[in-house]
């Protein structure tokens, strides 16, 4: 029995799974400790926070699906060893199937039936005309442009119907959740047996459920949108196609993973550096402090872009001179992505380290640290049990705020040409590709617009979420000591 595919774990996938594992451990820790749970409950009650969290979760889902890589088996003779394709696919690729394979000649506008550029075509009678040819896939089932509007409306209608059903399901689940008293208690009635009307009135009115309510509304809207897109996407290029005819919607989806990876993996690399160096500088002081301060002051005074550009170039040269190390193209571009995360991490730890150093300087003089020292507890234990838990909220806030900055940084770097590999789908590359076409008449706007909308819909919720996290962890905003 042989598998029809072979799982392929790229470097970035491995790191992403590591990050997910770390997140799971963190969540478990939070669940165990009352003082950690409380601020997260506050996030859960915040309307803005929960709405943003649902959107972020949708992005994360796309990103994770796109990180489950495999190589499909090639059709083989019986008895022969199975060969696997050189191309690496992800679960997402399989799910969106036709989007990946339906490649046109070149540009086409969103929902168009014809190519964007005129071509010379030979008519059946041998005459040659110059006109916009029909697309091979986009709306190919239609007789002509006249039928398009009705067809699109039909698909959207179907989609909204399906989305409505899914939303109703989600709502029902939430009602059961509230009704069983698993959620925060309603204003009236004994916990556990609210009944369906009681649950409904609690869900629609109770102020403690405001966060859940907002999350549900965003989820329903998202489901409606997703269902409509699912109906429409196989038949049209809903966001048009790019220069080589690839579906822009597909590229945008693939870019989600790149954006998320840059935002999170960089953090994974930066955190240990910032934590270790910042806390060590603050706690030990003296020479260690001097050395670490010297290090980050120096690092900070080198222009970041310069450092990144040179490091990426080095990586590029290395990759090109060692082709034998990579058995697929995906592995090659993936390494460059990881390297970009690495170098971004190396340049961005200084801010957080400085913050942690300051906080540790303050904590070090706290009486409870002195008391621990009077017990003869070792420095490492003091760092682990007393200092780290007390700077954790700072780390969390910094990480969440940094995330959106890093996503945007990727776009800028790729635009400048020192970002991810040009074959990796990323918003930066999309913008870079669109740059040259902006001067065309009529303008090719959809690539830029798609990258903008997708990035905006990630960064805005990330910022809003960061805001509500900061608010929940801010001791002054909490109201109670």
């Amino acid at each position: 029995m042989t598998l029809s595919f072979r799982p392929e774990i790229l470097w970035s996938d491995a790191l992403l799974f590591l990050l997910l594992a770390a997140l799971a451990v963190f969540a478990w820790q939070v669940g165990r400790h009352e003082h950690l749970r409380e601020p997260w409950r506050r996030v859960g009650r915040s309307r803005m926070g929960m709405g943003a969290a649902v959107l972020l979760a949708a992005y994360a889902l796309v990103g994770i699906l796109d990180s489950l890589h495999f190589r499909p088996a090639l059709p083989a003779e019986p008895g022969q060893p199975v060969h696997y394709a050189a191309e690496v696919h992800s679960v997402l690729d399989t799910l969106v199937g036709p989007l990946r394979t339906q490649v046109e000649e070149t540009y086409s506008a969103p929902l168009a039936l014809h190519l964007y550029a005129k071509e010379t075509m030979e008519l059946p009678d041998g005459r040659q005309v110059r006109d916009f040819p029909r697309l091979k896939f986009g709306g190919a089932h239609l007789a002509g442009v006249e039928a398009r509007a009705g067809d699109i409306a039909g698909h959207i209608g179907m989609g909204l119907l399906a989305g409505g059903v899914a939303s109703a399901l989600a709502l029902g689940l939430a009602l059961v959740f509230v009704g069983l008293g698993a959620g925060p208690q309603g204003p009236s009635g004994s916990p556990g047996h609210l009944g369906i009307t009681g649950a409904w009135s609690a869900l629609s009115r109770s102020s403690s459920l405001a966060g859940l309510r907002a999350g549900l509304i965003v989820l329903c809207l998202l489901l409606l949108l997703a269902a409509a897109v699912i109906q429409l996407a196989p038949h049209y290029h809903i966001l048009g196609t790019d220069k080589v005819g690839q579906d822009v919607f597909y590229l945008s989806l693939k870019s989600v993973r790149t954006g998320l990876l840059i935002g999170t993996l960089t953090t994974l690399i930066m955190l240990p550096l910032a934590l270790f160096l910042g806390v060590a500088a603050g706690y030990y002081g003296g020479r260690a402090d001097d050395a670490i301060q010297y290090l980050y002051t120096t690092l900070n005074s080198i222009p970041g872009v310069l450092l990144i550009a040179s490091a990426v170039l080095v990586a590029q040269v290395y990759i090109e001179t060692h082709p034998e190390l990579f058995d697929t193209a995906a592995a090659r571009s993936d390494l460059r992505l990881v390297f970009l995360c690495l170098i971004l991490g190396m340049t961005s730890w200084t801010g957080l380290a400085r913050l942690l150093r300051g906080e540790t300087l303050k904590l070090r003089e706290m009486d409870y640290i002195q008391a621990a020292r009077a017990f003869g507890i070792s420095h490492l234990r003091i760092l682990g049990r007393h200092i780290l838990p007390n700077v954790a909220h700072l780390v969390l806030i910094a990480v969440v705020i940094d995330f959106s900055g890093l996503v945007l940084a990727e776009a800028v770097l790729s635009y400048v040409g020192v970002g991810v590999d040009p074959v990796t789908a990323s918003w930066g590359n999309m913008i870079n590709g669109a740059r040259l076409e902006l001067a065309r008449e009529p303008i090719v706007w959809w690539q830029l617009a798609a990258a903008f909308v997708f990035m905006f819909a990630l960064v805005l919720p990330a910022n809003l979420f960061a805001d509500s996290v900061r608010e929940a962890f801010d001791p002054r905003a909490g109201g109670q000591a």
């Binding site: 003082h35 706290m366 009486d367 020292r373 838990p389």
Partner: protein, 666 residues
Amino acid sequence: MAMNGGLSVRGLRVAIHHEGGDRAMRPVDGVDFEVAPGECVVLLGESGCGKSLTALALMRLLPDGLELAGGQARLGDTDLFALPEQDMRRVRGGRLAMIFQEPMLSLNPVLTVGQQIGEALEAHRHPTAEQAAAETSRLLQAVGLEDRHGTSYPFQLSGGQRQRALIATMLAGEPELLIADEPTTALDVTVQAQILRLLKQLRSERGMGLLLITHDLDVARDMADRVVVMYAGQVVEVASREALYARPFHPYTRKLFSVLPSAHQRHERLEHIPGSVPPLGTVFTGCRFAERCALAWERCHAEAPDSQTLDDGHVARCHLVSAPRPENAAGAGYPPETGRKTAEAEQVAAELLEVTDLAVHFPIRKGLLRRTVGQVKAVDGVSLSLKRGETLALVGESGCGKTTLAKAVLRLIEPTSGSVRLEGTTLDRLDGNALRVARASMQIVFQDPFASLNPRMRVGEILEEGLRSLRPELHRGHRADVVAGLLEKVGLGRDAALRYPHAFSGGQRQRIAIARALAVEPRLLICDEPTSALDVSVQAQILSLLQDLQAGQGLGYLFITHNLPVVGYLAHRVAVMYRGRIVEEGVAQDLMGRPLHPYTNLLLDSAPGRGLPEVAAAPAGRPEAGVGCSFAARCPMAVAECAQAAPDTSTLAGGRRVACHRVVPE
């Protein structure tokens, strides 16, 4: 009271703005009082009673989330709460001024004192430039500062000078009423006495009313014409100072007096007020003090008393005014604890701690290569000894090196020279494991109960930490038993182990801190101002706890404090510290009754509650490196010799040791 000028407050209520609005939280709930021109009224109460909020409400400066929920305040014939904000701004700092507890936070650090006074003048009196300069100089003189201080920035001034500068800016508007919110709590006793004298003098010179907010009964005794006692957002008693201090009526006031430690109560158990001030949001049905009142009976729990006037002008909010306590009421009245002797620990002759010539010098480094260019002598040759079961009080102003000395004894700071012997073992050369073992016999309790417990650890984990480190042989179950035993010993339940520190009040946290120190069974406990952050009623509880522990386990206490009544009550011996040296040491009663060193004299005279006698001593200046006696610059008895050589410590009869040229052994 006929009011022309002066402040009159009626039914003042402050509510916490609450979204639901179904549960009204009123930190100030119906406060009435008057301040006549030229009168000093003291608002007295423990923390959380609504004193400061009352003041802020009068200034209409309530913080966000709090709002005025009713009442009336008239300053002269102006209704303060009816004024539009624009007019109120002119009243604020003009007719009605307020000074705060922390002078460093109330002065703008980037403006000179003169500029800040000028700003206040500009806002209220619109003077010309010359007038402003003259007035600034006059104000500086009025608060006892010199003209040159006008060009100083706040950081260049000492704490007392800052508070004076703040008072000067507040006087700029020629206020009819000055509100002072704990103006001296952050200051040393000697400076406190100066500031209080200044306030008293300004009040009589200018005929302005003074509303002084304090928790300190002794300060109130020195300052007040009338005292308004607050409890849980209400006024419970109003009386003239003489009447109040002679015959306090309300059970709360009486309790406040009885929990104050003093030298007279030595060897007597301090009374307790059980519990603590009720938290915000408590729903009261009866009297707000009933839960803690030893005289409460059924009526107190069922019916809230009104303010009623007694024969001698006393106003009290208590049912006892109108009716005597029923004979058959449940409850035993005052507990029989009063006057009970405390058990004395058996003092064995064995020396517990011996400190010889201990010095801690901090190098001042400068330049690129961090060369040492000088030294701050935080502790400069201190010798002390302490027996088992004995309490040695270490007193002195802030910055004199008390805490540094304590940390050096514990080796939390490496001493520069000198030696520390604990039970015959010299600690100086110990390190690693041996030091860890030695540390099990000495522990420390800190001043601030909020900073001394890690907020991220459960109480049980906090208590176990020392056990794990210093008694690793205990296994888990045994450790849990020890923790439970400790919690019971300090008067908390076993279930406290599972909770986080934020669930406890200040006094309870201090108990936890004591339990943590006791976990490793030390013989020496260093208490660094363990009660200065606590209310008086809670202070009494902690002091009693410490006494019980000493009696039970023969603990030796090195008790660092600036609170002289506590010293008189608790300490067997006293060491007075000034600028890193012990200037006088002796048996507590002897030293407090007959101080020999002029600095001890100054400290004792400055203590509040003695009517603020004029003390002949210069205010503390910046420390300067010199050869002579470090106190010479402030000393009223200094002679030429004092400036030339530092005095040696001479031992007098009765074990008294004094370092002063003017004290000669007989």
